[in-house]
Structures are given as structure tokens and as C-alpha cells.
Symmetry: C2
Subunit: 153 residues, 2 copies
DNA sequence: GCAATCAGGTTTAATAATGCAACCACGCGG
DNA sequence: CCGCGTGGTTGCATTATTAAACCTGATTGC
């Protein structure tokens, strides 16, 4: 069967999904962004098989989304923490959360809401703006080739 | 071995991933948001097996992210178009794209950039704001229980 | 100081999800 | 009535995911 790799795709959405588009990676990253760092913490929180967790952590480290650090409590073990590249996934988690908050069929089952720490009030929805500050929706944008193609002589 | 379902999870991120967190759904939604509507268009664009595509389209319709409409060119076939719930996924696609644009190891392989239709200039990065307009980053937010828990007498 | 326990995995064997290709049904053109 | 394009479904081989058993090195109990 071989799951088709998207790594060579030219679409940035596909390239991102190739890195963490599987069933567990984003949840591991979510846990990491909530401060979990130890193998056992992830395993207890997510309830996934340990071999899968080991495999996912390995590929996330390879992709430099996580890095291992020597320990924090003096024990001989290692911990997994987000790199800057990993922290960059934060908006994606927020977007996923906001979509569920808005469209989930059973919103009463959602346990938590995202609030700003200072005031304790819900955050605004993520929104897309043009460089000159206009609010953009799906119809207001378009795709452009990244660079003018060099025409062969 | 049954793939563990996340549908009953109380985390909205997990709930979203349960709906479209597989290998293909987000790419189908991306294509739909680019205007593709026919089975054959998706299949040609994504290069996935037809049975998988049929299965994904079915579950996306069940979840009301896509809906089938009778035809647009008069033929007897049906087309798949995004519902409002489906259009709500747009910010997630943008977030994925922007992450790749910022962190991909081979950005030269990315073919397109997102620009606003009116001016043709790249869009701003998605950003998270508090209700009173402060720019928030990962450290400025926290999770709060959705409702005050009713304490049993 | 020796057994028991725990963190952090690897190995094994079963089951479920892919992928590919072949097949089917329908409408249409000739 | 024969073939072709669209839109699927069905079988079967291959791969991924899973739970559970096992392993290793460090820490704790006594």
C-alpha cells in the first residue's frame, strides 16, 4: 500500500501535512505547547501505543519540531520540548480549536475555551488581513507563482 | 486493530482532527476551496485511489463539510461543494500554508504565494488578538473551563 | 546490597487502513 | 449497438496502527 508521500509536492499545505499530518502528531504538539515534556506524560495524556509515540517523537525530532533536552529534574532521562519551528505551529492549533468552537455539532462536549491570560476573556477569531489592513475572506485572495519563471531561451 | 476515535474527546483540537485529520481530507478541502468540484477533478489533482476518494468524500458529506449538488453543466452527475462549515476550514489552510512558508527546509520548492486579489500583494500572517486588541502569542493565553462546573450538593 | 519498581522504550503478532487494478453502471455519440 | 467518459465499487496485496509482552538502565525499599 505505501502511503503516498507529499514531501515533494509544491503546495505548502501538502508539505506541512507531510510533516505532521498524521493521526497523532498535532496532538503531541498540542500537548507540548501545554507544557508536557516527558514520554510518560504524552503517553498518559493521549492514550496511544508506546511504539507509535516513540515513532512520532522520533520523526518530530528529525523535522526539528521538537528537540530533546537532557533533563529538568536532575534525573538521567530526556525531555521533549518545542523548537521555534514547533512553536510556529501554534496558529494552526488555534485555527483548529476555533473551527470546533464554531462548527462542532456537540459544542457542549468541549471542555475548555481559549482566553487571554491577562484579562481572562475569550480571544478574537483568527483573521486574515492584507498588508494595507483590509480584512480578507476566502474570495478576496488568490495564488500567485512564487517567482517569475525563467523562460528557456 | 481499530484506529482510536477522538470523537468523544473534550479537546476541540482533537475533535477537529477526528473529522478531517486524516491523510487526504484537508487536501480535498483545499482543492474544493480552489474551485474544484468534480470527482474526476479531485482524483486527477490529488492522485489518490478512487476508492479512497469516494470514501473521504462520503465522510466529508456526512460531516456536512461538503454537500452534493445536482450538476452545473447540465450533465446527470453530481458535484461536491463546500458548505459554510467547510468554508470555515479556510483559516486552517492558511495557517498550514504560512507555517510552510516560514519554516520549510526547502522553500524554493513552494510554487505559490497567497496574495490579496485586489492589490496582488502577499497577505499578512494570521495573528491572534485579545478582545481589547492586544496581540497575543503562545505565552499570553491560557485555557479556562467552558462553564463553571455545577458543584454537587 | 538485592529485590522490586518505574521510565522509556523495542519486539511481536493481530487487525485495520491504504493502494492498485480490474470491474460495473449509466448516459451519450455515432 | 458499440465504444467511450464519468463516477464509482469490489478484490486482493501491502503497510500502518494497535495492544501486549518484553527489555534495559536507573531509582527506591528495606
Amino acid at each position: 500500500m505505501k502511503r503516498t508521500s507529499l514531501a515533494g509536492d509544491s503546495c505548502p499545505v501538502a508539505r506541512a501535512l507531510d510533516v505532521f499530518g498524521d493521526w497523532w502528531s498535532l496532538l503531541i504538539i498540542r500537548d507540548a505547547s501545554l507544557g508536557r515534556r516527558r514520554f510518560g506524560e504524552f503517553q498518559a495524556s493521549l492514550g496511544l501505543a508506546k511504539n507509535i509515540l516513540a515513532s512520532r517523537l522520533r520523526t518530530l525530532v528529525e523535522h526539528r519540531i521538537l528537540k530533546t533536552v537532557p533533563a529538568s529534574d536532575g534525573s538521567a532521562y530526556q525531555e521533549y520540548v518545542l523548537t521555534p519551528k514547533g512553536h510556529g505551529i501554534f496558529p494552526i492549533l488555534v485555527a483548529l480549536r476555533q473551527w470546533s468552537e464554531e462548527f462542532d455539532e456537540h459544542p457542549e462536549e468541549i471542555a475548555t475555551i481559549l482566553v487571554d491570560r491577562e484579562k481572562g476573556k475569550p480571544v478574537k477569531k483568527l483573521a486574515l488581513y492584507s498588508q494595507d489592513g483590509r480584512l480578507l475572506n476566502e474570495a478576496d485572495i488568490t495564488l500567485k507563482p512564487r517567482k517569475a519563471r525563467r523562460v528557456p531561451a
